[in-house]
């Protein structure tokens, strides 16, 4: 089983969400997701300042195997993106939960994070898939 940190929130579509100290949400894809995708070769990130709805596709990761949409776990405004991924998409493979973060949101509603899966719930979702 791949690593699923306890302190993060998750979606069934394999995004993780971290509540940051300033109240913003940091979002990336899980270790399991990067493992399924294989070596990343391209990342497309949302525009800073754009608004996203929960469940909306707002980024793309492309590996040697496939291209896949990344969905916003909650609604909010994009305040920052990890532009270093453009030159080093492999960071998502190497460190999906920290340096491989993709974008940060100012959430419309701080409580939205509570609606997502916790680590145990995500582990079950992954197990149910295979």
């Amino acid at each position: 089983m791949s690593e699923i940190p306890e302190d993060l929130k998750y979606t069934k579509t394999h995004e993780w969400l971290r509540v940051m100290e300033d109240g913003h949400f940091e979002i990336g894809i899980t270790e399991h997701a990067q493992d399924m995708m294989g070596d990343m070769v391209f990342v497309e990130l949302p525009e800073v300042g754009s608004n996203v709805n929960a469940g909306e596709d707002c980024a793309v990761v492309e590996s040697v195997k496939a291209a896949s949409d990344v969905y916003a776990p909650v609604a909010g405004e994009v305040v920052e993106v990890n532009s270093e991924l453009a030159d080093a998409p492999e960071t998502i493979n190497q460190d999906p939960y920290h340096q491989g973060w993709m974008f940060r949101l100012r959430p419309g509603n701080q409580q939205d994070a509570d609606k997502l899966l916790d680590a145990a719930g995500y582990e079950q979702a992954v197990a149910a898939e295979s």
């Binding site: 399924m36 070596d39 070769v41 391209f42 040697v64 195997k65 496939a66 492999e90």
Partner: protein, 482 residues
């Protein structure tokens, strides 16, 4: 080795070059090069040897079994090529008069009629230049249909998550939003999810049947009803038409519009990017919107149908009649088979797929959808092998090349981990299928005994394992002698 690397300065045939002061063309000076083009300086014999050698390295249907799922790499009878290359066809100018092209137009007219008959549609236009353009034409007609009824709020095209990537791409190109419909555990469209997704915003649903999972969509008439009741249209992606041709008609299943990949079902060459042909067929509702030109028969004469006949047409997709040479090959193929032979295409395509699937399963290979009978292709999953040995589907695929078999499609559909999509096609013999099964089982055995051997494959091909990551990240396809 590139042909440029054989180049030797001054190895050129000066006696045939134009004289320095000869005016060879009336191209204005500002459009001429300042420097001569950088061409390889090689002899005729070097050129012949270079390209003959390259052709010998081809892994092709003429030399190897090629079970590339969804691509339908079947044998194209030589006769199709031979008769499409008759001088009367080959030398015909696309703009030549109708009076001198009656034979050519008769072939196209009859191909339209044959395709109408096998698909159960009311009209066919042959002009799209490839499957992707056929898809574009099909969805553009859906848009034109809704627009003609002043039904402007239909902004969404539904696409199952198992679909070919071209489906969402086409819908997006035509200005629609794409909504994905999930697949249930048996590989069928999730009917309840579909029911929840349709509404007054639904322009249509794009469906491949049999699907890319290689199985016949069991709930097709229910799906058609749900989409039609919501006011949407049903689009048939003809990528897998070869599994049902002559047996079941998409028109009878309730589809409103279809594109056909002639290189799959009607045995025209796989183009490596072209030329292709992707005719579209429609039912009554979409007839006025078909792309032009088409061929009509008035009395005993054939003529082009143009803007005057079809003022609501979505228009022209190319300057002429599409890829006429490809269309002729499809016509000849259909005539060689006849109606009876056409029925046997689907029979043998599905028989071969089911035979190979049953053979592999009986020898311990896992299937992605073990409860389902295959249509013309099936999905193997090597997840258990990966967990046991660390050898992944890509490694096994590469090792198959060493054994003289082209690898099946790998990692598609995306839903299935470590998968192969295997499509043997109707043109392979039982011996060939048995040989492939032996090779695959042999590799699985090797993976258990010596995983390194499989992980470092291929060993016998002119080019060894490529660095796909580097190729994608540092794309460099320009030769530079600097």
């Amino acid at each position: 080795m590139l042909i440029f690397e054989l180049s030797e300065p001054t190895r050129r045939n000066s006696s045939q070059a134009p004289l320095e002061d000869a005016a060879v063309a009336d191209i204005p000076q500002e459009f001429l090069r300042n420097e001569p083009a950088s061409l390889p300086e090689v002899s005729e014999l070097q050129v012949v040897r270079h390209y003959t050698r390259l052709s010998q390295r081809n892994f092709s249907i003429d030399t190897h079994f090629y079970p590339l799922g969804s691509c339908t790499m079947k044998y194209n009878p030589r006769a199709c090529n031979k008769y499409a290359m008759l001088p009367g066809f080959l030398m015909r100018h696309p703009q030549s008069a109708v009076t001198t092209g009656q034979g050519f137009m008769q072939c196209l007219y009859e191909l339209q009629e044959i395709l109408k008959d096998v698909t159960g549609m009311k009209g066919v236009s042959l002009t799209p230049l490839a499957g992707a353009q056929g898809e574009f034409a099909g969805v553009a007609m859906i848009r034109a249909y809704h627009d003609s009824r002043n039904d402007h709020n239909r902004s969404e095209i539904l696409v199952p998550d198992a679909a070919h990537g071209t489906n969402p791409a086409t819908a997006t190109m035509c200005g629609f939003k794409v909504r994905e419909i999930p697949t249930d555990d048996n590989g069928d469209v999730d009917v309840e999810a579909l029911r929840a997704a349709v509404g007054p915003h639904t322009a249509g649903l794009m469906l491949t049947n049999p699907s890319t999972l290689g199985i016949f969509e069991g709930h097709i008439s229910e799906i058609a009803d749900i989409v039609h009741q919501a006011g949407g249209l049903l689009y048939y992606d003809g990528a897998n038409l070869n599994a049902i041709v002559g047996k079941v008609k998409p028109g009878d299943m309730g589809f409103d519009v279809i594109h056909m990949n002639l290189h799959k079902t009607f045995s025209t060459p796989h183009g490596g990017g072209g030329p292709g042909a992707g005719p579209v067929g429609v039912n009554d509702r979409l007839l006025p919107f078909l792309p032009i030109p088409m061929v009509a028969r008035d009395g005993g004469e054939y003529r082009w149908l143009t803007e005057h006949d079809l003022p609501q047409s979505i228009g022209r997709l190319s300057a002429g009649m599409g890829n006429a040479g490809v269309l002729l090959r499809a016509y000849i193929y259909a005539r060689l088979l006849g109606k009876e032979g056409m029925n046997r295409v689907a029979e043998y395509a599905t028989l071969n797929a089911n035979y190979l699937m049953a053979l592999l399963r009986s020898r311990g290979v896992d299937m992605a959808y073990p409860k389902r009978r295959a249509a013309h292709e099936f999905i193997v999953t090597l997840k258990a092998l990966k967990d046991e040995t660390g050898v992944i589907a890509m490694d096994v695929a590469k090792r198959l090349l060493d054994k003289g078999y082209h690898a099946p499609t790998v990692y598609f559909p995306l839903l299935v981990p470590e998968c192969f999509l295997v499509e043997p096609t109707e043109t392979e013999s039982k011996q060939e299928l048995d040989g492939f099964a032996d090779a695959l089982l042999g590799i699985i055995e090797e993976a258990r005994r010596d995983p390194q051997l499989v992980q470092s494959a291929p060993h016998t091909t002119p080019v060894k394992r490529l660095d796909e990551v580097k190729a994608a990240r540092e794309l460099d396809v320009v030769w530079n002698d600097g």
